[in-house]
Symmetry: C2
Subunit: 373 residues, 2 copies
């Protein structure tokens, strides 16, 4: 594992001028700095969800890179992560050069991460089209995903629009934001205008969105010319833009100045304010795997009606998620539970309470059990 020498911390370059080459580069920027508690005890501060193999043998992050492969090969993939995770990220992705693993000195949410990453890229990449993607989602049909992504790359090039890849809703989800669609783009194929971003709706609104056929789930996947996004940041997030300029002017103070950037999401800082955004519908079995319950829903059921990862035995037990990172999980006569076993901890909870797993983490935090966080 490489040590996090200072050289791996972001080095910023000033934005260059107009494109000098006719060939437009296609680059992917994967956001791999996230953390969370919803997959505890499998996920930990040092091993967040994107680094876990949950639904398959490879981690969600590695699957994200694999999925891009035929369209954006690893040589054109960049990663934004945190200093604390950079070693683990690099270790999982031997095909991605360490120079393209950008380690934020501090987590400041997605807007600073994306902006700083764009500034760290060579000018040709920044002037080309860039796809920004989360690293912890699941896609059942990678080919459908790539077809939509290719169309988004084309549209971002042709129209110089920011293009969102939104997911065709499959149920009235109240936990996601939505994109409200307008008319189709002239000569834009499947692309449609985005009228506005909609916050997480209540149940009735979500049902109306689902019925309307004019709303997509916001999956946090966007394609744009890098320089175009930097212009939008300058327009809609002047405080962030000013901070980035200071950073570019004093690279020796990068760590300190980065930590002073506003901590804000790219949606809230920029995307919700962009005029003329377009969207294309993703219909690729996308899932954000937001909880153990979500994982249960995508795993195949075994003969006993349980869904398992690793070694499990079930006797008169049904509807359980039996997840063994190590060793074996045995269930007798229980139903609809989450049972997770890792090297040092076990979690047992009803599946319907999967969203409350953080309460265990909070309890451990209060008890000073940093070894289990």
């Amino acid at each position: 594992m490489p040590s996090l020498a200072r050289g791996h911390i972001l080095r910023f370059r000033a934005p260059a001028g107009a494109p000098s080459r006719p060939i437009v580069e296609r680059t992917a920027l994967i956001l791999a700095g996230g953390s969370g508690t919803r997959f505890w005890p499998a996920s930990r501060r040092a091993r967040p969800k994107q680094l876990l193999a949950l639904d398959a043998d490879r981690s969600l992050l590695a699957q994200t890179v694999d999925r891009l492969g035929p369209l954006v090969p690893p040589e054109r993939v960049w990663l934004s992560t945190t200093a604390a995770l950079a070693s683990a990220v690099t270790a999982q992705l031997p095909g991605i050069a360490r120079e393209r693993v950008l380690a934020e000195p501090a987590g400041r949410n997605t807007a600073p991460a994306i902006a700083a990453s764009l500034l760290a890229m060579p000018a040709a990449a920044r002037q080309g089209v860039v796809a920004v993607l989360p690293s912890d989602h699941r896609v059942a049909d990678p080919e459908a995903f790539r077809a939509a992504l290719a169309a988004a790359f084309d549209a971002a090039e042709r129209f110089d629009r920011i293009v969102a890849l939104g997911v065709t809703p499959r149920w009235p989800e109240t936990g996601f934001g939505y994109l409200e669609l307008g008319a189709g783009l002239p000569d834009g194929g499947a692309l449609r205008e985005v009228i506005r971003f909609r916050e997480k709706p209540d149940r009735a609104t979500a049902e109306a969105f689902l019925a309307s056929g004019r709303h997509l789930w916001n999956a946090g996947i966007f394609v744009f010319r890098g320089t175009r996004l930097l212009e939008e940041i300058a327009r809609h997030a002047p405080e962030l833009a000013a901070g980035l300029e200071r950073l570019a002017g004093e690279p020796e103070r990068a760590e300190e100045l980065y930590a002073e950037l506003p901590s804000i999401s790219i949606d809230f800082a920029v995307m919700e304010h962009v005029q003329g955004m377009a969207a294309i519908a993703l219909d690729c079995g996308w899932d954000d795997l937001g909880s153990w319950q979500a994982l249960y829903e995508v795993l195949p059921a075994d003969a006993a009606g349980n869904r398992t990862h690793g070694q499990a035995v079930a006797v008169e037990a049904t509807g359980n998620l039996l997840f063994a990172d190590q060793g074996l999980v045995a269930a007798l006569g229980v139903s609809d539970l989450i049972v997770v076993r890792t090297g040092d901890a076990v979690l047992v909870a009803p599946r319907e309470r999967a969203q409350e797993v953080r309460r265990i983490v909070e309890r451990l935090e209060a008890a000073g059990r940093r070894d289990l966080l």
Copy 2:
């Protein structure tokens, strides 16, 4: 750990004649060869229940030796176990000389184990009084236990009776055998005649036993002169007696001949047929810890209403047994479950189905998972 050299296998001596010394020795013979599946995954073939620390920091076996201490010090304690367990037993009991850890070449139930152990003891011990005890029971009040045991030693000496220590019933248990009591012994203090052994009763019979005040649970604890028990074996179990004679005559064929002894319990072979057996009531918080549910009942409840062993966290979870041999067990929103975590396995089951844990073991056996048995 000592290897099981042949020298540790039983060496038999022929019974000696009449006692030559006026002082009667008091010896304890602890039966530590048992195996079972009811505490899986904590218990394994190589680490059966008696070797586990379930209700305290020390194993049930070590507690059995500790409990005898003030009455029968370790120098007069003998252990009967199997060749497969002898190393582990010896390792747990540094105070007991290896010569007194008798390893059966093969498990043949309690009658051969007790008889062969008596024959292996020095003549003075065999001619003295011997207490035979299981190694996997719990006693909440060791002083009360020793008081009853001391009375039984006295009675076995004075009357040359076989004395059973039977447990005063606390509920109408259908899983135990009972001793039906008759009149008090003349000049025998708390001792009473045993009229007969009663098999595991149905519920109505168990309730009648409990109400009668004339029945004790058979705890498998007996005190007798060693030579007296050997006489009873000769009388009631002639096949076993003949096998033991062959064994004494051909010590070089001990392993082979031992394996040919009838596999039979001391109760069935001898105790149920003995004339003039006496009993004394044990009122010492005895528990056979027959299942995870039984362990739940004896552990103290924590503030959340759960009973734990090792590290556990519970959030809105009540009435659970949370048992962590290693690592931590976290329960969220679940009730009345058994959750057990060992180095290589997890078990989750409702407490009320504790008796069915063997079904998991059977499944693993069928799957060839010897590593987990």
